[in-house]
């Protein structure tokens, strides 16, 4: 209970399984983390030992059959971004998922992309 006496019920109270349980206590993926708008895609490799993967891993891998951004993945699967990133890291370690984009992450878009964005917005 906090100072203002707020209470959380149902969804507001958060998931029954705490996020860190799904990631077995890990808070970030091994290696590079995944940018919010990075595009990931399944490599087409078959997952071997199924016991190693949680239902959440399987859902993420299935959704990655098509290129999808990390933030869309989080909202569609309905898991916090932090969890998605850790589980994506597991799938990447196993060679099942890879970044689909070639754009260097963290750079501002180049002029070609800016013009394309401008034209796209004008056409809306």
């Amino acid at each position: 209970m906090n100072a203002r006496g707020d209470r959380w019920f149902d969804r507001e109270a958060g998931p029954v399984v705490r996020p860190y349980a799904m990631t077995r206590g890990r808070t970030r993926p091994r290696g590079e983390t995944f940018d919010l708008i990075a595009v990931v895609e399944a490599t087409g490799e078959r997952p071997g030992d199924r016991l190693r993967y949680s239902p959440e891993h399987v859902r993420i891998l299935r959704r990655c059959a098509e290129p999808v951004s990390v933030v869309d993945l989080a909202s569609e699967i309905g898991l916090p971004l932090g969890v998605i990133r850790v589980l994506l890291g597991d799938l990447r370690d196993q060679g099942l998922v890879a970044l689909a984009a070639i754009e260097p992450v963290g750079d501002r878009p180049n002029k070609g992309v800016l013009r394309e964005v401008l034209n796209g917005l004008r056409a809306l």
Partner: protein, 204 residues
Amino acid sequence: MAFGHSEPGDPPLVTTKILIAGGFGVGKTTMVGSISEIRPLRTEEPLTDRGVGVDDVSGVERKSTTTVAMDFGRITLTDRLVLYLFGTPGQERFWFMWDELALGALGAVVLADTRRLTDSFPSIDYFERRGTPFVVAVNCFDGADRHRPEDIAVALDLDPGIPVLLCDVRRRDSSKEVLISLVEHVLSWSETEPGPAGAAAPAG
């Protein structure tokens, strides 16, 4: 969103993002909602190790310090270009999230309300320090006095050349015009500025 399995040789999917910032209750979520093709989605962020050892089942009151709802919307511009809009978290304790949101962003919209102009100072200050190009969009609330954009630019002590627009973010067309102005500003800005490499490094 189905983009189809990419085949070798397909142009890759390009994603870019714009930040929607401003004080509490200024219309960030409304703006994202008026132009996004999806209902503004709220996703929780972040998973932090801050609560480890402290966060237990009786610690529900810690929820507000370990997770935060994040607004985002999506505009599919072409079959290979997607623009995301991220509403920045308003509360001060979530400032640490701004750096990740701002990283690689095309630019930012600072929404302002003339009745509470000072609420937009922290956002303006942040983007100026970081060297992120932005425009100021004054959301014209019913009942608020109308001011000329020039006067608002002075009141906000903006650097010359930073566009100030009047808008009504409940209207899709108006939100669209704001985004168009931002991209035009970024295009002209990138011709005059030395570019991100020469921009001021964010403090810290």
